[in-house]
Every structure is written in structure tokens, then in C-alpha cells.
């Protein structure tokens, strides 16, 4: 029974491949749309050009502009419901000694943006710790971080810290490089890659498992901490935990399982809150909020255990409706519904339209035509 060559039926008869298809579709439905990504890129490139324009206090300092955070890591999620969406960008500058105080750097950045007729109305009035914010329509914010290059340590930058008046060390490019390294597995190993290019399969966008896992962890955080946002772990903390505990698994299903299992083992063997450091700058403790508020850590662990238990039951749950209920609890209704609909369209409706539906003798499992399968005649459901 079944074909030895890989075909659509191979996918339709394999529960792990089908689950993986759904998970990739959940991720695709929560990531920024290409329109949103392009808009964000257009916005920050425009700011970069202005900061380098004639008359700018930074023109002589060789400004280069690049995104940091989730945009750089390619793990950006759309906001839940109508929430705001931030993009962090760095404006890297040569240091010529003229800015001794961080507040001067921040104020000059803001003042120059106020000189631009379009940006003037977007500049946020609030004094922020390390950036100047521009508010765009549609709840989108651009957080511009002016920072000095450290010529003695490639990649290191000095970021203004308004409260202290000084500068703090950072290395966003180094972090991205670290994450990319953690993500790396042989692409051919990625589950679904074996069927992705089947001509009759409208596959979801397939990304590396760790990248997808980080997206899902952040979306899970958004959903389950909705009512207690102050206690929610930061994106960089979650992304670092994912990167630290990923075990080169080749599917989203296995990657998230592995990350959660190993993380919970570490939690169990730690008497207090986990101590999570920036992987490329260990003095920076990303888990600082858990030291300050142990209740937030306890809440995180409780929710994490529930996540792990729900994830484990994903693999054994039968019934699309039951699977859907689990996924909705974890990642929200809209994303789940969109994923299941895309899944059904690609894997059942598309072959049905082509007259290629078949069934597996014995269990009558719906599949696509091929050796060992029996064709299913076309039909129209009727009745009330």
C-alpha cells in the first residue's frame, strides 16, 4: 500500500507531515506580511537618508542604518489584534568625541528629525531610554537608536542610556550572527522539504525550524500573557532560550518539543529564577526582570509547563477540531483558522478540483491518486 515515489499522497497519508504543514501555515499567518515588511524597510531607509543628508549633525560621522531585533532575525510576528508593532533600527556612527553625554546624542537625533517636514509630526514626545520614536499610521513605531561604533571590537556599539547619562555596550549584529548559527541545519533535512517542490502541492513558506520555533514561542507569549503583559518575558529572552536549547531538530514539531523539554529540565534543576545571559555579551543578564519580580518567573514556569503538556498532546490528538482547539489556545483563533483553511485548500480541495482524489483501501483515508490507492469519483454534497 502506498507509493514508493514521493507524491501528494505521501503527504496526505503521513500525520507528521500534515501536522508540520499546519504549523508552517500558522507561522506564515502570524508573520509580517510582505507589504508590512516593505513598508517598514521603506520607512527606515528614508530615515537613514535623512540622517545622512546635508546639514545633519551626523553626516560627517559615517552613519549606517540597519534593523535589529526580530526584523534582523526574521522572526517578526504581526501584533495580536490591534496591538502596536515596533521596529528597532540602529544608526551606527563614528565617535569623534563630541557626544560625552547620551542625552545630547538623543536630543540631536530628535531635533534633526523635527527639521524634516514629514518626520516632524511623527516624532514621539516622550523621552525614551535609548531611542527616538517615530509614530506611523496603523500603530507602527520606528525606534531609532543612535549609537557609536567601537573601533576596537568589531560589531560592538555604544548605545545611549538616558537615565544614567552614559552609554551601554551592545552588539546587535553579533546576536543575529549567533542566532543564525544556532538555526543552521542542512536544508535538505528540514521536514517538508522533501515534498515542497511537488508540482501539485501549494506548500506554505518553509523556514528553518529554530526560526519558526522562536516565532511560535513569542506568539504563545502574546496569547497567554495577554492579561498580565507586565509579567511577559521579553522577545530577546525567549529567542535566546530557544537558541540555547535547540537541538538541531529538523521539524517545528520536534524543535519546539526539544526546546521545551530541555528548558524545563533546566528550570527543574535551578532553585531560583534562571540566569539567562546575552550569548555574545555575558555581563548582560536578559533575565533581570525575573530577579526583580520572582512572581513573574513563577507565572512563566507555570505557563511553560502547560505549553509543554499541550505541545505533547498535539502529536497524539486526533480530530481536526480537537487539534484546532489546542492550537487556538496556544497561538490564537485567527492564526489557527487561517492555517487550517490553507491546509484544507491545498491538500483536499486542490486535488479534488483536479479530479485526483483517491482513497486508501481498508481505512478509506482520503489521499491523492497513485499506486495502491483507489480513485474517488466526483461528488457534490447535498442536503440541508
Amino acid at each position: 500500500m502506498g507509493s514508493s515515489a514521493v507524491d501528494l499522497g505521501t503527504l496526505l497519508e503521513d500525520p507528521e507531515l500534515l501536522r508540520e504543514d499546519i504549523l508552517h501555515r500558522v507561522c506564515a499567518s502570524i508573520q509580517l506580511t510582505s507589504t508590512q515588511r516593505e513598508r517598514a524597510e521603506t520607512a527606515y531607509r528614508g530615515v537613514g537618508r535623512w540622517l545622512d543628508a546635508e546639514g545633519s549633525p551626523f553626516a560627517a560621522l559615517g552613519p549606517t542604518i540597519y534593523p535589529q531585533g526580530s526584523m534582523a532575525l526574521r522572526t517578526t510576528n504581526r501584533p495580536l489584534a490591534q496591538d502596536e508593532h515596533d521596529l528597532d533600527i540602529v544608526v551606527e556612527l563614528d565617535s569623534d568625541g563630541r557626544y560625552g553625554k547620551s542625552v545630547d546624542l538623543l536630543d540631536d537625533t530628535r531635533d534633526w528629525l523635527l527639521e524634516h517636514r514629514e518626520y516632524a509630526s511623527k516624532v514621539d514626545k516622550e523621552d525614551r531610554r535609548c531611542c527616538v520614536r517615530l509614530n506611523y499610521a496603523g500603530n507602527f513605531h520606528l525606534d531609532i537608536v543612535p549609537a557609536f561604533r567601537d573601533v576596537s571590537q568589531a560589531g560592538t556599539i555604544w548605545v545611549p542610556d538616558r537615565p544614567s547619562g552614559g552609554f551601554e555596550r551592545g552588539n546587535p549584529k553579533g546576536y543575529v550572527a549567533w542566532f543564525e548559527e544556532q538555526c543552521r541545519i542542512e536544508v535538505a533535512r528540514v521536514l517538508l522539504k522533501s515534498v515542497e517542490s511537488l508540482p501539485d502541492y501549494d506548500a506554505p513558506e518553509i523556514e528553518l525550524p529554530l526560526r519558526r520555533s522562536a516565532q511560535l514561542l513569542k506568539r504563545w507569549r502574546d496569547v497567554v500573557f495577554q492579561d498580565c503583559a507586565d509579567a511577559a518575558p521579553s522577545s530577546i529572552l525567549l529567542t535566546t532560550l530557544a537558541g540555547n536549547h535547540y537541538g538541531n531538530e529538523s521539524s517545528i514539531g520536534a524543535a519546539v518539543s526539544g526546546i521545551l523539554d530541555r528548558l524545563l529540565i533546566q528550570v527543574k534543576s535551578n532553585p531560583g529564577p534562571l540566569d539567562v545571559r546575552n550569548p555574545i555579551y555575558s555581563p548582560e543578564r536578559l533575565s533581570e526582570p525575573w530577579i526583580e519580580d520572582e512572581g513573574a518567573y513563577v507565572l512563566f514556569v507555570t505557563k511553560l509547563r502547560k505549553f509543554a503538556s499541550q505541545w505533547e498532546s498535539l502529536a497524539t490528538t486526533s480530530g481536526l477540531h480537537n487539534l484546532s482547539a489546542l492550537l487556538e489556545d496556544l497561538f490564537g483563533e485567527a492564526a489557527t483558522r487561517s492555517a487550517l483553511t490553507g491546509h484544507q485548500e491545498a491538500l483536499v480541495n486542490a486535488p479534488r478540483r483536479r479530479g485526483e482524489l483517491a482513497f486508501v483501501p481498508g481505512a478509506a483515508t482520503v489521499t491523492s491518486s497513485g499506486i495502491g490507492r483507489r480513485g474517488t469519483p466526483g461528488n457534490t454534497f447535498f442536503g440541508g
Partner: protein, 161 residues
């Protein structure tokens, strides 16, 4: 039936029962296929029982004279099923297909399997049918897939069951 569904039990004349798995992520369902002389064949879903929505409805079902719901699997007027066609190659796989759409409908409230609804007199649900068909088209269903002549897409040709 025996050849394609060897584990189905022939309960009595014209009645078979057995278990099917519509998709690897679906539940197993026990169904009863009933095919009596001079009556169109039908399949009942025994276990797990079908779960209606809050209004007590399930898309594309009929009730028999005992009030039992069963899936409505083909369009009589288009002769999608004729008595020359093996039950095993039509009713059973169509039931499986119906169940996949049913589970999706339970998950999302959307019926993606297309289909038609019968008219009930000049008024009544005609407008309702147009509304439902608009809804089904909007949800990307297959109102256009219903075939006027059933064609067996069998790589091995017709086989007796």
C-alpha cells in the same frame, strides 16, 4: 466491499459496518452503510456521534424517518451515484471525505466541501440556499466541482468490490 474494506462486517442483508479514518489527523469513525433494494444507499456515522452546531444543524445531512441524521453524499438529479457503481468505491470514500470537511467545519464553522441544498417549496429556504452558496463560495469551497457525470479516476480501472 470485502475486497476494499476487509474489516467491515456484513451485519445483515444490505448492511455493513466498519471503521474508517478519513485522514491521519482525523478521528476513527465507525460507520454503517445501508443499501436496500429500491432505496438509495446511505451511510450513518455511529461513533463518535455527529455533533451539530448551536442551532442543531450539520451541513449536508438528511434525516431518515426515525429522525437519524446521515450525510448527504451526492446529487441525485445529477446521477452522481447509480446502482451500477460499487458502494465501496463511492459511498464509503465519500463518507470519509464528508467527515474531513465535517471536522474542519467543527473546528472553524466553515464548510469547505461545497455542495448544494435542496429547495423546499417556492419560498422557504431558496433565499437561504443562495445565501449559503454565497457564503460557501466566499469561504473558497467547491460549488464548481460537482461533476455532471461521475467519472471514475481509478488507475486500475473499475473493480468489483
Amino acid at each position: 466491499m470485502k475486497k476494499l474494506f476487509p474489516r467491515f462486517i456484513h451485519k445483515s442483508w444490505g448492511v455493513w459496518e466498519g471503521e474508517i479514518l478519513p485522514g491521519p489527523l482525523c478521528e476513527w469513525y465507525r460507520i454503517r452503510v445501508v443499501y436496500r433494494l429500491k432505496q438509495p444507499p446511505r451511510a450513518y456515522v455511529l461513533k463518535p456521534a455527529l455533533v451539530p452546531d448551536a442551532d442543531g444543524n450539520i451541513p449536508h445531512t438528511y434525516r431518515d424517518r426515525f429522525g437519524r441524521l446521515y450525510p448527504c453524499l451526492y446529487l441525485p438529479r445529477k446521477h452522481e451515484w447509480m446502482d451500477s457503481m460499487p458502494i465501496a468505491e463511492t459511498i464509503v470514500p465519500w463518507t470519509a471525505l464528508w467527515l474531513i470537511y465535517y471536522e474542519h467545519w467543527r473546528a472553524t464553522g466553515d464548510w469547505l466541501g461545497g455542495g448544494e441544498h435542496p429547495q423546499v417549496g417556492r419560498r422557504g429556504i431558496r433565499g437561504g440556499r443562495r445565501r449559503r452558496r454565497r457564503q460557501e463560495r466566499r469561504s473558497g469551497s467547491l460549488a464548481d466541482v460537482s461533476t455532471s457525470s461521475p467519472s471514475l479516476v481509478t488507475p486500475n480501472g473499475l473493480a468489483s468490490s
